[in-house]
Amino acid sequence: MNDAARPASTPPLIRLVGVTKTYGTGDAALQALRGIDLAVESGEFVAIMGPSGSGKSTAMNIIGCLDVASGGSYLFRGVAVERLSRNQRALLRRNYLGFVFQGYNLLARTSALENVELPLLYRGEPASARRTAALAALDAVGIADRASHTPSQLSGGQQQRAAIARAIVTHPAMLLADEPTGNLDTQRSREIMDVIAALNRDRGITVLMVTHEPDMAAYADRVIRFVDGRIESDTRRERTVP
């Protein structure tokens, strides 16, 4: 259906073809993904929903190149990720992907600014450029005034904002958010979703977000439902929240 809308020459940003994932072997083997077919275009805001154990986080980790599929093919901009080496996958994460986790995953005892600078450090950017870009990213998520605070000095919402700043400081093609509001109250959750939605709208960053809260999924313009390792439904719609 959406293939028709796409110019034939450019591949989708990501495409999954019959992707499976099995944990363990033999009788104890657990099939987390039972064949996923999915394509996401640049600029989309996709929410992935589903009950616990439905495989949504597994799919997310494979898309984020944090994990590799057991079978099928995953193409990122037409490149088969399963054929890449560990280092090439790391470089793919470094240059094209940004991650936001439920548990923030900031480095402890490290200021927000240094956390945000870290991806740039691995990209080999000079110190002054790192600082400028990191401050700009912190400003974009609204915590420029907390730049020198360490995670333990920040509230949950502020930590997640810092994590988002770290994810977007490299201007990634895609932002992957795994239950970004899972640890936050409703008010804080809405603020975080506003930030993510603004990044999608204003910067055109493709967003893939796992959530089990319909309120949060309402920010997305496409909702994919996972059940038992398969896609049950894939719905496009007008956003109900700006």
Binding site: N61, G64, L66, D67, V68, R86, N87, A90, L91, R93, R94, N95, L97, F99, F101, N105, L106, L107, A108, R109, T110, E114, L118, P119, L121, Y122, R123, G124, R166, T170
Partner: protein, 403 residues
């Protein structure tokens, strides 16, 4: 990224985890410091013992009544020597430099209001010659003084300090029991002997003076024999034993009732004793190095959970495996080297202070420094690097999930 950035990342990490860094460094400091200090002091003590044995006089034999090698516990039943025995040795055995019959007794000596309890040795110039010991001021005995048993004496540095203080002792007078004795010479200081004996705490008088005025007998307690450098000490020893058995009428099937001590034997015995002591101290110190190493190991392993998550984060945001490893390796090397260097510096200070307090020479020992440093650095690097390597090889998502 690889070089400078990895170094900066490591230094940041060290600063960020000050307590962990401090404990790691401390473990290495204690290990290296203990081993180096102990072995350095042990070597110094061994050296000191050899030096002091050498100062006793080289190629010297001491002939004493009794069977025991040291201490003379069995001396009581054995007859003493006489001056004639010493003369027989001097006349009948060749290749000897000096033969000095001697007798010693403990007395309290007095000069003005100072008194001091010391050992008075009755002997003569031959005794000083045998121990290669000459007065640094004044003179030694004249032949007449030795023969007639004059009330003259040569004193050691300790006696001078205790009795005369800043006064010039030469020509001064000390009272020994009932008689006054003129100080004619001051002996060069020799310092402390093995077992902490003060060699300078003595008064030497002519043999006859001590025999007549202090002991009241013709006994000779020991004969000091100095063997010429060109002659064999072993042969001289055998000849003396033979001669003494003959003079003391010891039958062929009877044991000697005297013994001949070879200072080289004493030197070897004492040196091997101190060497054993050095090994022992070294072993104790090695245990502390090991304990330090286990401490480092603990700290490193305990922090693995936190570090594994950290590695997961770094991998997730695009760090390469080798970049993560370079950072951890540099961190481990920096901490271990820092600890090793501080340990060596502290050991140098500690060993120097210890050597001064124990009055043994401070001998810097490069191999043990290198060895202790290499050992603790290896522990630091192995336990800092290998858990990190395992973590860096995980899939990022596994590392992130690590609890």
């Amino acid at each position: 990224m690889m070089g400078w950035n990895a170094l900066m990342l490591s230094l940041k990490e060290i600063r960020r985890n000050l307590l962990r860094s401090f404990l790691t460094v401390l473990g290495i400091v204690i290990g290296v410091g203990a081993v180096v200090t102990m072995v350095t002091l042990g070597n110094g003590a061994t050296q000191a013992v050899s030096d002091q044995i050498a100062s006793l006089g080289s190629n010297m034999l001491i002939v004493r009544p009794g069977q025991r090698l040291m201490g003379g516990r069995d001396a009581a039943g054995s007859p003493s020597f006489r001056v004639a025995d010493a003369e027989a040795i001097r006349e009948q055995i060749g290749g000897l430099e000096a033969v000095a019959p001697s007798v010693s007794t403990n007395v309290t000596i007095v000069h003005l209001s100072n008194n001091w309890s010391t050992v008075v040795t009755g002997s003569g110039n031959a005794y000083l010659a045998a121990r290669s010991w000459q007065p640094i001021s004044g003179r030694s005995f004249s032949e007449t003084e030795e023969r007639s048993g004059s009330a003259v004496c040569v004193i050691g540095e300790t006696v001078r300090r205790e009795l005369f203080g800043s006064e010039n002792p030469i020509g001064g007078s000390i009272r020994v029991k009932q008689f006054a004795c003129e100080v004619i010479g001051l002996l060069a200081a020799k310092g402390q002997a093995a077992m902490g004996m003060d060699q300078d705490d003595l008064v030497v008088m002519p043999l006859r003076t001590v025999q007549r005025r202090l002991i009241g007998s013709q006994d000779v307690a020991a004969i000091f024999v100095s063997v010429a450098a060109s002659s064999s000490v072993e042969r001289a020893k055998m000849q003396i034993e033979e001669l003494m058995r003959e003079r003391r009428h010891i039958a062929a099937n009877e044991n000697d009732d005297f013994n001949v001590l070879d200072t080289r034997q004493i030197a070897e015995t004492l040196s091997s004793t101190t060497r054993v002591m050095t090994y022992l101290l070294g072993a104790v110190a090695a245990v502390s190095l090991l304990v330090g190493g286990i401490g480092i190991m603990n700290i490193m392993l305990v922090s693995v959970t936190e570090r594994t998550r950290e590695i997961g984060i770094r991998l997730a945001i695009g760090a390469l495996e080798r970049e993560v490893l370079a950072q951890f390796l540099i961190e481990a090397v920096v901490l271990s080297s820092l600890g090793g260097l501080i340990g060596i510096a502290l050991a140098a200070v500690g060993a120097a202070a210890g050597a001064h307090a124990m009055q043994v020479p401070f001998l810097f020992n490069p191999p043990i420094n290198v060895l202790a440093f290499a050992f603790s650095a290896a522990i630091g690097v192995i336990f800092g690097y290998f858990p990190a390597r395992r973590a860096a090889r995980l899939d990022p998502i596994e590392a992130l999930r690590h609890e």
